[in-house]
Each structure stands twice: as structure tokens, then as C-alpha cells.
């Protein structure tokens, strides 16, 4: 047990490290690569995106705790790179609007401007590093919480926090009232919903974790929700939790009830 505890911080530090790209001459974080390509400091045509993706897959296999957010971030950057690559391979595809922003014939015309901009941003990059270090240190201590409902969260006087909580609440309330008219057929008649935002999945993960920590629950109970969006979010949350090894999902007999338990 002690060994296990000693092993923990190391894994966390590794996770903190995030994904590093090694492509040709470039070595560094993906957002920097993306930035360099988008600001035309690097030629997108030279990018080996297959290599990028396989490096990412290798990274995923090694680090077991990548969050949905981080994965979404990767896909967002990777697709931006892909778009740039497509544009550079098929210049005719580029639309007029972009042409204005990055004059084709003078790719490095604004080098000075860019240098200035990156210079100006450097302190913030360092500040982010400083914050990360502070957070790591601070998170080694835990405060006492009487109950989860009472975690002090909003500054007194946070008017916009107040208002947005109200409008979210109203949205959920109306949705739940509408859920009465749910029917199996109508589920497929509609155009499918957009993929729910990852933060909803994360919120749902926290909720689920709280309830299954108290006692093991059956999948049937967890999926009782008639609201389609919540159902999808719940399923995604369960999948993600099982991927991260936070829950144990088991079925003791064929066609029997499936139980979900905290690990």
C-alpha cells in the first residue's frame, strides 16, 4: 500500500506534462506548433500529420489519465493543422476572407509583429507555469468540508453567477417537464442532437461518482432518466469513468442486471 502511495505523485507529474510533439525539427507542445503553423512560421505542407496522430496514440496509451478536455484539445489543434495543410496543398480552396489575413505572397511579412506578439505573451506563459507550480503545492493540503453542498464557491455579489445559475435551472426545469411527452419512436425521428459538451460529461461524472460511492447501483437505475440529453451524457460519463478506471461495471449473469461500483 505504501508503495502504491509513493508511486502516485510520479504518475501525476507525468500526466501534468501533457502531450509533446516531435515532428522533424519541431519539438514542443502542440499549441505552439499550431500557433507557428497558423502564423505561417512553419510550412503546413511539411507537416506529417500521420506521425502526429500516431505520437498522440502512443501518448494516450502511456498516460492513463488523459481527460476528455485534453483529448478535445488535441482534436481541435489537430484539425486546425489539417485545415492548414489542406489549404497549403490546395491553395485554390482558400477563401477570400483568409487571404486578407495572411497575404499569400508575403508569408513572413509580419515577422516583426509576430515577434513582438510572442515576446508580449512570454510573461503569461511563465505566469501559467508559476500558477501550475503554486497549484501543485497547494493541492497537497486538503481542507475540511462539512458537506459537498456547502463548498464555498461564489463570491458574494457575483450577479452574473446568480443570473446564469437561474437561467440554467430554468432550462433544466423546462426540459424535465417536457420529458413527460417522451416516446420511443420520437427518439429517432428527430435530427440527432449535437455531441454534448465535455463539461457536462465531467459534471455528470462527479454526480455519478458521488452516488455510487455511497452504494453500488444498477445500470438500470442510472439510466432511468427519460431525458435524452441527460441519458447520453450519463452514458458518456460512464464510459469515460470506466476508461479512467474510476468505476467497475460488471454483469454477474448473462442478461442479468449490470452493476456499477466505485473502484
Amino acid at each position: 500500500m505504501t508503495e502504491q502511495h509513493e508511486a502516485l505523485p510520479k504518475t501525476q507529474n507525468e500526466d501534468r506534462r501533457g502531450f509533446e510533439v516531435q515532428l522533424g525539427a519541431f519539438s514542443g507542445p502542440l499549441d505552439l506548433l499550431c500557433h507557428l503553423v497558423e502564423s505561417r512560421e512553419m510550412d503546413p505542407a511539411q507537416l506529417n500529420l500521420t506521425e502526429l496522430v500516431s505520437q498522440y496514440v502512443a501518448f494516450l496509451i502511456n498516460s492513463k489519465r488523459t481527460t476528455l478536455n485534453e483529448m478535445a484539445e488535441f482534436f481541435s489543434f489537430a484539425s486546425r493543422l489539417l485545415l492548414r495543410k489542406v489549404h497549403s496543398l490546395f491553395p485554390a480552396q482558400r477563401d477570400a476572407g483568409e487571404e486578407e489575413e495572411y497575404p499569400e505572397d508575403e508569408p513572413f511579412a509580419d515577422e516583426e509583429e509576430l515577434r513582438r506578439m510572442l515576446e508580449a505573451f512570454r510573461p503569461y506563459r511563465n505566469a501559467a507555469a508559476h500558477l501550475a507550480a503554486l497549484q501543485r503545492e497547494r493541492e497537497r493540503s486538503f481542507v475540511r468540508i462539512a458537506d459537498e453542498e456547502s463548498i464555498p464557491f461564489y463570491d458574494l455579489g457575483d450577479l452574473y453567477g446568480l443570473a446564469s445559475l437561474w437561467w440554467q435551472l430554468l432550462e433544466i426545469y423546462n426540459e424535465n417537464r417536457g420529458a413527460g411527452s417522451y416516446s420511443e419512436e420520437s427518439l429517432w425521428e428527430e435530427i440527432p442532437d449535437a455531441i454534448p459538451e465535455e463539461r457536462l460529461v465531467e459534471e455528470r461524472m462527479e454526480e455519478l461518482l458521488r452516488s455510487i460511492r455511497k452504494k453500488e447501483l444498477s445500470l438500470r437505475d442510472l439510466l432511468e432518466e427519460k431525458n435524452k440529453k441527460i441519458l447520453i451524457v450519463t452514458l458518456l460519463a460512464l464510459l469515460e469513468m470506466s476508461r479512467l478506471g474510476m468505476v467497475r461495471i460488471k454483469q454477474s449473469e448473462t442478461l442479468g442486471d449490470v452493476t456499477v461500483a466505485a473502484v
Binding site: 481542507v143 453542498e149 457575483d158
Partner: protein
């Protein structure tokens, strides 16, 4: 985890420190068995560690260890009861912060006043008597009479103090859904990469899940 059993009296070793920290963070009482199996020691050792902590606390600290519901629980020393009771209930806390539950309840009251507790609970779909009490204590809401209906339940309203703290001229200036949004039309190139989610600014119903 290898202290000798001789110096258990009075001295806090690693085991005592671990037990102390565990009792501190735990919201419910924790049984000796639970601690023992977690730390991989015998319950006898856990109990002697708890006794040590308890003795040290009683000798000079403002805290104590209680035994309740089959487990150990950290609490404030009984002789400080008056001080602490008044302090934790004190409205003068300069920097009150609100939990999500409290702010949500306050939002329901603000946008729907006057409103009864069961109406609040209907919207939030959780009980909220404790939260309403907190808000009353902080002077953010007040009782504004009784509703003329079965059981004549109490009606709640926000106070002047609420308006002051949230910087509102009046209840009518509470932000509308539109006011919470950014109006953006000149975002240029990246917009097209993010899909159509930003197009639907008019779609009021969907600020929570953007489609």
C-alpha cells in the same frame, strides 16, 4: 508506518498524524476498523493513536475527538461551545462566499419573488430549508408574509442588502438571458472551425447545451 508502541503516549508519530488528518477531512465519523484496514495496521493501534490525539487535544487544544455513530469524529472543544456557536452563525463574516446550492436558491428567490419554499424546491428539485436558513441568516432574503393558500406557507423575498451587495438598482435590473451572452459577429476565421454552435444566439432555450 513503523513506530514502536512505547512512545505512543503523548507523542504524535506518523500514524497519529495520518489518523488526525483523516479525521479532519472526513465529513462523517470514521470507525477504527475503517482506518485500520485503510492504513494496514491493527484496530488496536488505531485506537491507541486516537487516544493519543485525544489526550494531546485535551491537554491544550481547541479541538477534541468524539465517538459517534460507531466512529471517531473531530470537533471543537466543548468548553468553547459558546464562542464557536456564535462565530459560525455570525453574520459579520466579511467575506461570505456562497455554495452553489445557496446561490441557486437565492437566484430562484430573486427571479420569482415572492415565492414559497415548496415552489423553490419544485424548481430546484432538491430540499432547501437549510439553504434558505443560511440566506436568511446572511440577510440576503427575508420572510414577506404568507401565501393565501393551503397551509398558508411563508413567502420569501430578497432584501435591500441583497440589492446592495449585488449592485442592483432594483429587481427589474436582474440580468436577462441575453445579457449573459457575448454578442459576437466579427470573429472571423476561427468561427467556421467551431461548427454552427455560435450561430444560434437567438435560440434562448439553449444556452446550456449549445447545439
Amino acid at each position: 508506518m513503523q513506530q514502536s508502541d512505547e512512545n505512543v503516549k503523548k507523542e504524535m508519530g506518523l500514524l497519529e498524524r495520518q489518523v488526525e488528518a483523516m479525521l479532519f477531512v472526513s465529513p462523517q465519523p470514521v470507525s477504527s476498523q475503517e482506518i485500520a484496514s485503510y492504513l494496514g495496521v491493527t484496530t488496536a493501534r488505531v485506537e491507541s493513536a486516537v487516544r493519543t490525539i485525544k489526550e494531546i487535544y485535551e491537554a491544550s487544544h481547541g479541538l477534541t475527538i468524539l465517538f459517534a455513530a460507531g466512529g471517531w469524529q473531530m470537533a471543537t472543544a466543548p468548553d468553547l461551545a459558546e464562542t464557536i456557536e456564535a462565530f459560525s452563525g455570525s453574520v459579520s463574516l466579511q467575506k461570505v462566499r456562497l455554495s452553489k446550492a445557496a446561490l441557486e436558491t437565492l437566484a430562484v428567490i430573486a427571479y420569482n419573488q415572492p415565492v414559497t419554499r415548496s415552489e423553490i424546491e419544485d424548481i430546484r428539485s432538491v430540499r432547501c430549508d437549510r439553504v434558505v436558513d443560511t440566506l436568511l441568516k446572511h440577510g440576503l432574503v427575508r420572510i414577506a408574509g404568507r401565501k393565501k393558500s393551503v397551509g398558508s406557507p411563508l413567502l420569501f423575498r430578497t432584501t435591500e442588502r441583497f440589492l446592495e451587495i449585488f449592485g442592483l438598482a432594483g429587481i427589474s435590473s436582474l440580468p436577462s438571458l441575453d445579457e449573459l451572452k457575448e454578442y459576437r459577429s466579427d470573429d472571423g476565421v476561427f468561427d467556421s472551425l467551431e461548427g454552427p454552435d455560435k450561430v444560434s444566439e437567438e435560440d434562448d432555450s439553449d444556452e446550456w447545451i449549445r447545439q
